[in-house]
Amino acid sequence: MHDELNERIRLIYQTHYKDVYSFLLYFTNNQNETEDLTQEVFTSLLRSLPNYDGRVVIKTWLFSIAKYIAIDYYRKQKLKLFFSEKLLRNIVTTEGVPEAELSHKEELVELKKALQKLKPSYRMVIILRSIKGYSIKETAELLAISEAKVKVDYHRGFKQLQRYMTEPKEGGWQNEFV
């Protein structure tokens, strides 16, 4: 019994840590935060694992935990940034670097930054659908939302992303919360 739980969590961890890590990394765009959140996801899962009755697919369960931990992280960040608003207003964004053309990699970096500006529900759908390549049905299952909501959030998220990517790069504040 002792070994069984150890083996189960090891198997789950080894099978899914990359997916969870990757999802959270796109969500936070910060490696340190991602490591903390990944640890939180698997520790939460472990605590409930003895009661797991197989009614939910492990991956779906893991992502549902990851989703709430990500949203919680977003809220904390929002609060933190709200209180440091004055500080942020004094930071000049590096997005305003007047370069005529951004290289391919720089464009992707810009895209990652733009992704961070999306609200969590749009961000999650775009990460899973566009970046991780899950189908509408799978995305709906992993995020525990309807397929219709996936489609709507995806469409709206994309529109916003398009807007952020075409906005003038000079000026502005570095963070959406300011």
Binding site: M1, H2, L5, N6, I9, R10, Y13, Q14, Y17, K18, Y21, S22, L25, Y26, Q31, E35, T38, Q39, F42, T43, L46, R47, S48, L49, P50, N51, D53, K105, E107, L108, V109, L111, K112, I126, S130, I131, G133, Y134, S135, I136, K137, E138, E141, F158, L161, Q162, M165, T166
Partner: protein, 517 residues
């Protein structure tokens, strides 16, 4: 720059920048999880040992006490207040009784199950409660949860029910006695214990408290309390002059109707199902809709005969899909990407979804796991919309039906219009089907037309309901009714329906209703 397509391509390239988890972090977390797993197991083992020890102690104590007691002594009164005994509480009465510790010692016969029966409290003295509500002592004994929940040494062990009950007592004080464990929503495996309000011995699930217990500690406390107005007990009608469970069952059973459904093998089968919206007014016998059942797809109200041709749309590869879309539906692949799909998704059990995103249109096709095209859609993304929406038109419906009947199962004899929804670019019509006049459940058919009235999409949609109706594979309606009446039970509860703003006759007051148990 940054068109939809470009952006999608850029997103797909993002993994190029993806940082893999640091190996030291991966190793660290693996090790940490192993240690944590060991700690969790240790905690569970300790709990189990304590539970067994306490159970054994109780058995020994009772055994010795039973031996010492003279059998002629009259039975003491059971402790549970009859006012609080009810449908929801009975199966779990013992574990939640805070006073169980002392009462066990007072029951001379409690060592044996049959003897215990005689001392189980009777149902509420309220004669208005229908017969069906009364749970026999036998039922009570049968439904007892594992012994782990029945230990009576709370100082030594803390099973989730006792922890939750103690917590509720602390939080609510005397008011907690009005709440009993809701066996329907309580999930001991998940450590979730739900207490619902009892009024006149009838549960009112809309007023409840939920206590989470994890590793012998309360992990959360949630409540679903009502506004002060709704807490006024005088508004709750006592359960008198209500239909008996038998009468209610008969009314519900009368809604049994034949339906057709596709079985797992894709064959059409005739079944019998209840057309019961969830609640039955216990006083008037009128049907009331349960909010979660409102989402079920209704049967069409009228039917239009069709000559179904049953044309097969077989697809076994992406090339098959392209050929079919071109030849059968006249779809052109003239985008810069040619015929190479921009994305292919493989859903679990739902088949494959192909997308071709071109400069001026997006084409999607869904293929079921057994190789049948179940949906296609060509969406114009280039032309500007004039902002006006195309309203449903009779000739559109006719056109949609003419299109649809080519692909409908030959056994479908008629379809019925269910509705439409539209945006600036297109309008989608939805139909239900009939087989020999009997509704086909679980399937709807959609045809999409663009602003010019051209068919640009079709879908054969499976509708899986989270709350499917009770369904019987019986030889006749009478047999189905008989099976339903013998195998199913009802439960009397209070509900407080929201007053519909446009319904002058609806009341803003609690109601006594029956629901499926």
């Amino acid at each position: 720059m940054n068109s939809f397509e470009e952006l999608e391509q850029q997103l797909k390239r993002l993994p190029e920048l993806e940082q893999s988890p640091r190996p030291e972090f991966v190793a660290y977390l693996d090790e940490k999880l192993q240690k944590e797993a060991t700690a969790v197991k240790r905690r569970l083992r300790h709990r189990r040992i304590l539970t067994h020890t306490a159970t054994a102690a109780v058995v020994i104590l009772l055994g010795s006490w039973v031996t010492a007691m003279p059998w002629q002594q009259p039975s003491p009164q059971a402790s549970t207040s009859p006012a609080d005994s009810n449908i929801a509480s009975l199966p779990l009465d013992h574990p939640q009784e805070p006073a169980a510790t002392t009462h066990v010692a007072e029951q001379p016969n409690s060592a044996g199950q049959t003897q215990t029966k005689a001392h189980v409290p009777k149902p509420p003295a309220n004669t208005g409660v229908p017969e069906a509500q009364a749970i026999s002592p036998t039922d009570n004994v049968k439904e007892q949860p594992p012994t782990e929940q029945y230990n009576n040494e709370p100082d030594k062990i803390s099973p989730p029910l006792q922890i939750a009950q103690s917590y509720l007592n602390e939080m609510l004080g005397d008011e907690s006695q009005h709440y009993t464990i809701n066996t329907k929503q309580t999930d001991l495996k998940e450590g979730k214990i739900v207490f619902s309000r009892m009024i006149h011995g009838v549960p009112f699930y809309n007023d409840s408290y939920s206590v989470g217990v994890e590793h012998d500690t309360v992990s959360y406390f949630k409540f679903n309390r009502l506004p002060e107005k709704q807490r006024n007990l005088s508004q709750f009608p006592p359960p008198v002059d209500v239909l008996s469970e038998k009468e209610a069952l008969k009314i519900i059973a009368d809604t049994m109707q034949p339906v057709y459904r596709y079985n797992k093998n894709g064959a059409l089968t005739k079944r019998y199902e209840l057309d019961f919206p969830g609640y039955l007014d216990a006083k008037t016998g009128k049907m009331l809709a349960k909010p979660e059942q409102l989402s079920q797809v209704p049967s069409p109200k009228s039917s239009i005969p069709v000559k179904s041709q049953g044309k097969k749309l077989e697809v076994h590869s992406v090339n098959d899909a392209i050929t079919l879309l071109q030849q059968e539906f006249g779809v052109t692949f003239d985008g810069e990407r040619g015929t190479s799909p921009t994305s292919i998704s493989y859903g679990k059990g739902s088949g494959t979804e192909y997308t071709w995103a071109g400069a001026d249109k997006t084409i999607t096709a869904q293929v079921s796991p057994n190789g049948v095209l179940t949906a296609y859609h060509v969406q114009d993304t280039a032309s500007e919309t004039n902002g006006s929406k195309r309203a449903p038109r009779e000739d559109d419906v006719k056109k949609a039906l003419e299109f649809l009947e080519r692909y409908l199962d030959k056994k479908i004899t008629a379809v019925g219009y269910l509705g439409s929804n539209w945006n600036e670019r297109e309008i989608q019509y939805t139909f239900g089907a009939f087989v020999k006049g009997i509704p086909l459940k679980g399937r709807t058919y959609h045809v999409t037309l663009d602003q010019s009235g051209k068919v640009v999409g079709m879908e054969d949609s499976k509708n899986a309901s989270k709350n499917p109706p009770l369904s019987f594979e019986a030889a006749s309606r009478e047999a189905a009714i008989s099976e339903y009446s013998t195998k199913h039970k009802l439960e009397l509860i209070y509900i407080w329906p929201k007053k519909a703003s446009d319904d002058e006759n609806s009341t803003d007051a609690p109601q006594l209703v029956y629901q499926q148990k």
